[in-house]
Amino acid sequence: MSSRWADTAEDREHAQRLKAEKAARKAAKEEARRRREAAAAPPPTPPTKKRRTNPSSPSASSNSATTTSTTATSKPLRFPAPEIAACRHVDTYEPLNRIEEGSYGIVSRARDTETGEIVALKRLKLERETDGFPITSLREIRTLMAARRCEGVVGLREVVMGDSLKDVYIVMDFIPHDLKTLFDDMPEPFLLSETKTLLHQLLTAVSFLHSHWILHRDLKTSNLLLSHTGQLKIADFGLARFYGDPRPPLTQLVVTLWYRAPELLLGGTTYGPEIDLWSCGCIFAELMTREPLLQGKNEIDQVAQIFQLLGVPTEESWPGWRAMPNSKGLTYPKTQATVKNHLRTRFPLLTAKGVELLDGLLKMDPKQRWSAEEALSGRGKTFWMEEPRMKRREMLPTWPSKASGEKRRKRGSPGAPVRGDAPVLEGNLEVKGLFDGEEEEVAGAGFALRMGR
């Protein structure tokens, strides 16, 4: 019996065929190269008619031949200009399975029939619209287009339309996980090194958005996607918009309740990028515990929970907070204990630098809150330098993706606010349960057994 590795006649024939193919390819390549060279052969150079416009120096101007050649080499910069082209039809994509249904659209997984790539299709709900194409969807498409170059933002591929003018789909890169779903599947929360990787990516992306004058206004874990290679991407720009300087008045009805900054809850309308950083702070805490940090039942309860964790603001810690529209109706106990900040006891395992960063992101006064830049390379820098260092994103664990396959569970997180009038916190509402059970609080550090960091 001959060895299974021995050459058979069939093998030799195959090898010969490969060889012949290779030779043919080589010949074709050579031919193409010759043709290219022939085409590129320098045509007789026409005399340059262009008037010399920038004499480099008075002495050189006498030698006009050399200066002409130098001006000819300075090429003006040209900007890439996309074509004005119509939308393609949604038929280019073959639907696979539904991922999620939100308040302003259905997201499903689909395959590009031309390239075979898997994408996410978001169908905009336009049926109920009476004022033409909704301004929120226009903002979503424009902000996504503006953030295309950022790797921390989900990539917008194109916008396609169905048969009617009410059928509009946004085509985005498909990313298999979102952090919220991931938390439900993970037996253990992320290690500190992994948390750092994710938070660093989040802050980098947020800093990109803010430097391009984009407010996201709905940062939360279910809007943060994670690829198989550990790349975090911000998604769902349904509430995003451009802002400017001076700050335009904006609606206060933005950001999912649990991630909403105190100045929004207290009715501020000239907020800015700080509200996204507050959400980042909440996400930082959630990355460590897998539990949303502040789970208020309603606006007033959310305010109560914030004050309970960070202490009631004073004129020193947040100058002018009493002048906020909604803070007048609030009554709260005035004692020394109520202004205490409980972050340290809530996160006993976090290093001092980590608590400092978290505290910086969760400053109640928006003026004192750290910017993304500050958190990355300013005062927050030491947190990234100390041990444990950030894990490389490729080294993050991987999980099976729910979005690519099975049905998803409904989650019990309140939805993003829909358009309408913002609730006003009026009257003499007492912040109930604010300091109940304070005696039961643990004063010292907690204990948890963890393997690895």
């Binding site: 200009a81 004005i84 194409f133 003018l165 009410k166």
Partner: protein, 292 residues
Amino acid sequence: MVSILSNPLATPSQLLANQTEADGVPSSLSKSLLWAGSTLIQSAGILLRLPQTTIATAIVLLQRFYLVRSLRSSPLLDSVHAAVFLSSKLTEHPVKPRSLINVTTYLQHCPSPSPISPVSDNEQALQDPDSYFVSEHEYYAQRTRMLDTEAEMLKAFGFQSWCALPYTLVLNYAQALDCLDESLVRRAIAYLNDALMAPSLVFLTHQPHMLAVAALYLAARSEGESGGGSAKLPEGWWEVFDVEREELGFLVAVFEGAAKFVEEQTGRWKRRGGKGVPWDLEALEEELQFHG
């Protein structure tokens, strides 16, 4: 790609294959109608107290739309409405459909300083508000057509609604050249507004930085002539802003020609008396018969 420096541009083949002309509308009429549409947008924008960025965006959107669509299939008035409505949303100064339709009806029927309004031959027309009253029925019909055209518009340019305008660049460049002076900048911005009306569609063929340089060049030149400004710019300064001499020459010619073109067009429609610009399809067909 969204950037303050770059816009989606028309390709040469798109400019050659003008849909309106392919549909049998003479080139001069098609150019004239696009001008009338742009002028209506400009006048309506002023009455609606919209900022010039919103107005300019609307005009560019209208030009982009008719680059790929025909005037004979998409009526001019509905496209004007849609362009203003869309641009007001894009630039965060939303207008109400009712105000918009009221204003354009007023401009079409009542004598006003706008070049597309009829001339006031009798005082009666001025005082007759019935001539520009929009009935509820008419309002809903126009609004429905406007919203449909808006969707058509977004579809026609693949939702690339970004419109980078050269106004702020003029300020930047003037500052960089150390000639930031109110009358100079005013003049440059006026040149840019002229160029919006030019039949060469320079906002579709040139990036904003080139337009800004051309406007600043012309402004500095005419300021120098009138002896007002002391704007003596260094030789070849436009190359610093990535504009070649030939391009600058072309744009300067277009900018300067815009005034004459507008004058011609104003005369063209004013002379016609009561029958103004053919805003809808029916009037356009009539106009074509008259022509052909």
